[in-house]
Symmetry: D2
Subunit: 366 residues, 4 copies
């Protein structure tokens, strides 16, 4: 008898989403009479008044492993429990459409849902599970801050892009004897910053997990000039925080839109250094969206494909309420509850990467 799967992608886009989708569809195509559908714009496609759900065939996913983003679109607005509805008086309210979703899935003959997304999305997966929908989660976080998996897809691509940008900036810093501050993603977790700093050869790396002391950074900068290097490169995560009482510059900007904030941490650090009387020319570059777009590197294409293959398998075997994970070299799964446990942040005292940074002379701001 025919079996049907609905896929949704939620939250910020991430290189590899399409490869997961392709992995699911191609796996299903190897089986008798399985069909895969995509809900457009996360679950909104199946929730809104005019349902927007498309069939995904081997032909429609052909070549997708190379393509960034997600062909079934994504959003971080709405969702089954807080679907936005416009009232007659023009104001907006949110509505719980989870039961509607359940009903529609049944009517459409959909047996299971594969939900690809971050912690917000997986919390929804868990709630949907609880009301009896068959869900399998696939983790998506470009920040790599999940404790249940070695890596998530998209992270290595972000690090590679940030490193290539850093390589470009080094030549300008050197030619102009400047200080460069490059701001990368990482609100809570400093993984992208830390990897980029080591891969790029930064002099300073500031991550959210290690509050920084502007004096220490100033000192490191001065040593770069004093000891003959003649320039200084800083990688800073967008969630970087100065040590209490050490913030000498402007007040931290409220972080609304995480990627285009004017006056982000890079500018703030620049101001703090200026306040400390630094005389070198300082420039700030914010990578922003460049880090999450474009073709995934091979590592992420492979991991995402494996995740897609595993997600289909969990569906086929009826192992619902779980999320796919990677424990090298295996692809495993964990219950959604467990998957949502505390995020995997950099441990300044234990992670070998932190140790490596210090040993090669990177100042971590402390």
């Amino acid at each position: 008898m025919s079996k049907r799967i609905l896929i949704a992608t939620g939250g910020g886009d991430c290189p590899g989403l399409n490869a997961v989708i392709r992995g699911v569809v191609k796996s299903a195509a190897r089986e008798e009479d399985w069909h895969v559908y995509g809900s457009i714009e996360s679950f909104n496609g199946i929730l809104k008044d005019n349902v927007e759900v498309v069939e995904l065939t081997e032909k429609s996913v052909s070549g997708l492993h190379v393509k960034g983003g997600t062909i079934i679109k994504t959003t971080n607005k709405g969702g089954p429990f807080y679907f936005p509805v416009k009232k007659d008086d023009g104001t907006w309210v949110t509505e719980d459409r989870s039961e509607l979703m359940k009903k529609r899935l049944k009517n459409m003959g959909i047996d299971a849902v594969i939900n690809i997304g971050g912690d917000g999305s997986q919390a929804i997966s868990l709630e949907l599970s609880k009301i009896g929908i068959n869900v399998v989660g696939v983790p998506k976080t470009i920040d790599n801050d999940l404790s249940s998996t070695d890596f998530t897809f998209g992270f290595q691509t972000a690090v590679q892009i940030a490193t290539e940008c850093f390589d470009k900036i080094v030549t300008t810093a050197e030619s102009h004897s400047r200080v460069f501050i490059m701001e990368v993603m990482g609100r809570d977790a400093g993984w992208i910053a830390l990897h980029t700093a080591i891969a790029g050869g930064a002099d300073v790396c500031i991550i959210p997990e290690i509050p920084y002391d502007p004096y220490k950074i100033n000192e490191k900068i001065e040593s770069c000039y004093r000891e003959g290097k003649g320039f200084c490169n800083i990688v800073i995560a967008e969630g970087a925080k100065a040590l209490d009482g050490k913030v000498t510059g402007t007040n931290p900007t409220a972080i609304g839109d995480r990627h285009i904030k004017l006056g982000g941490v890079g500018d703030k650090l620049k101001q703090e250094l200026a306040d400390l009387g630094i005389e070198h020319d300082i420039r700030v570059t914010v990578l922003g969206h460049l880090q999450r777009g474009g073709t995934p590197i091979a590592f992420d294409r492979i991991l995402a494909t494996e995740f897609g293959v595993k997600a289909f398998e969990l569906v086929k075997e009826g192992k619902f309420g779980n999320m796919v994970t990677y424990r090298h070299p295996n692809i495993l799964y964990v219950p959604l509850e467990e998957a949502l446990k505390k995020p995997h942040l950099v441990n300044p005292n234990k992670d070998f990467l932190v140790h490596t940074a210090r040993r090669i002379g990177v100042c971590l701001g402390d």
Copy 2:
């Protein structure tokens, strides 16, 4: 008898500077008893109290064609006619050190100077010529805004980098159904923006030469959604200007530092569109320094090498007071006076590129 050349690089760094230097040094190495020296940080190396001039040999330039920036460093401060000097009372004044420079060149036995730089640098070249210094100029402008040459090195690399960044952003715009505004270099000339928009497949391209009407841009954006594309990508040059009376947003920011201005033209346009009531999600990305750093693409390595070879030849043949130029497929030269004539801006009525943009449906904001 031994002959000596002094090279200087001035103004913002640019992919290909090192390849020019290498071209000069390798050319000189083919001749009997020529020596090449580099003045560190443009002419400041030979002007300051403790002269900083290094010999450049075939060995020291080996592999330089691949390396961005300039190994002899650059600056846009100082120079022979306005060298900064600190007075006893701690204030700064500028000093004309051109005669000192002439004297030092003579004392060091330097027969000619090759000055690689933009219009500011070549204006200095001309003045140095007038006081009897043997100068050959090599043009350097990443904006490609010189009328005396088909292309300048660095430009194609900047366009390639901007295009690759644009490609990355497209996948995110599409996945999130967003409007993206990508800000590129170009204070007066829109060449980088125009090339990038055509190469990347932008929907809108705003250049300094065509003042834009926010209503027209808004209309184009709406058509992207109405006609089913579902997202919209805008390339804007940093020198973009709204039509008089059409500026609906904040006042244009004074452009101080050209690359890190907060509230640049991208943010301004975003505000104007918001003021017009646009409901789509808009994001701004500023490429900034990423465009001028890193390894030059093959095109620029070749052009820069040819410029270096030609510059040495002009020196050898005593053709001073000239600047090297490229008229495909030849490398020629023009008098410095002519080289400094009016910049080569986009001609909205004549350039085939503008015509091409319009024909493939790119909105130019007018």
Copy 3:
């Protein structure tokens, strides 16, 4: 009244073909009631018994500027004047189907043909013109060997790819103190080899236009070791020829398939050097198809788009029997007869590129 254009792409694929197609289709979409069709596998689509012609719309060409190859496929077999037909006895003959083509174009209401292809394809364009078909040619040669245009699309991408491959090989050559021979495209014209050698910093560059003397190459290699460089990199075009009487190795291989020949010129040169008693470790790398695949660089995307726009314009203005060309910064056209004149080969005595190579110390084998 409705107007119809048929596009065909012929000969080897080339980065930018899709961008030309997109340029034509998008130009046509700006006009009232123009339709564009693609003949699958060059003209075979319209010539074979079951016609294979597809409509090309703005939607179907969306995003094509980024994609290598050609969506309407290509071939170098068949064509209107020599279409292969299987006889009853199983043997193959060729048939002149040009009149059939004319008739079918008329029946399908097609007003003009845009033929994108190399010299073989443009010779067909000319013949089709002569029998009264409205044809506009768009030149396609990755070797850049046309005298009527400054550049053809695809060439700069090939040079960029070859240069990046060369950069990779340099590190291995240096680490192992080896001689590397890298074979690139160029049966008759050495442009790709010459550009790559200058962009990559090769020690030796062998092109078809300059027959090489193995003794001279051997001498250059020895000087690389004697003078302390410690390794040597050679770029050789696939059409390279040794000077008469200097071929010391095996007989030149007959060049059948131009890209996958075993025992190509690289291996031959290796043998010749071995015969001369060279003691260094020599390795050969053949780039082959890597040079013509994948995403075009920005330069080629732009040029190809301009060619597409211009080709449509020629059709619209009824300027048939012409081929589009590029004379910086203009896009022009020339009669097909003129376009087919003698190829644009490297002139060893006049081209500044050759001069540049010699001046920076590249041995050209003579």
Copy 4:
């Protein structure tokens, strides 16, 4: 008291070697009075009559993380136990110079040796340990075939390069309706081939661990055409072997030089398919040295840096006779004996990657 380390790099070059060296030197620079030296061309630098050993300082390793290859050069000839010596009669013999090495190390005050290399090099490390030299090994195998570590540096770069090459070839295969065979590294282990095939979206992947049946491959190719894809891409590892009795083509070529063999497995497979009467156009591309050169990707720069840091630490702590390893996320070490145990080959029945390949429809030739 001053401490001294000697580093050597042996075997084929690999992206990341320089990053390891830099990691060691920078670690040592954080300590009081440690000095690091490099033996040029693996141990030959310290073994040959005119010792060639250079001091490595923070300045001399600056920027090395970006550079492919090894600045202290490498070789797979010679070594302490079989050093080549020319006799008076002109013939060559090998000599055991291990005691000489021990003596020289002592005379030069060298306390420990860090030997970066593959299984051959680590076997030497073990032997040197046994005669009382303090050795720490750092594993280097681009094939990633070590069971004691999750990954080795260089592997991910090789996969990324091969994948990018594959992406290029896809467009040509598609445009010409061809079969492409791309040959990658992997004499015994199919990891590079398997990763590339999944990352690139190959139709067929042939690895040494799964002897292939040409009939099965032929069948898969035919299905690609029959079912409408219209082209077919094959990745084959250089150590691929046909099933006994199934080799229909020429005899397998003896593999002498692993990278430039003419008539490698790709050509052999092509011949076999031709013998089976395939009518599609088949092309072969051999990646060869391209896979191991150039700038390492971020992943490998980081891993190599961690290895360098750990190697220094083992030296400092006196933990000799061990080899550094990576067990995500930790950097650990194992005794050299254990490190040399059986290679880590693809397990066709257990590895999730193999399973993934099959599930997305990749034919593995069986």
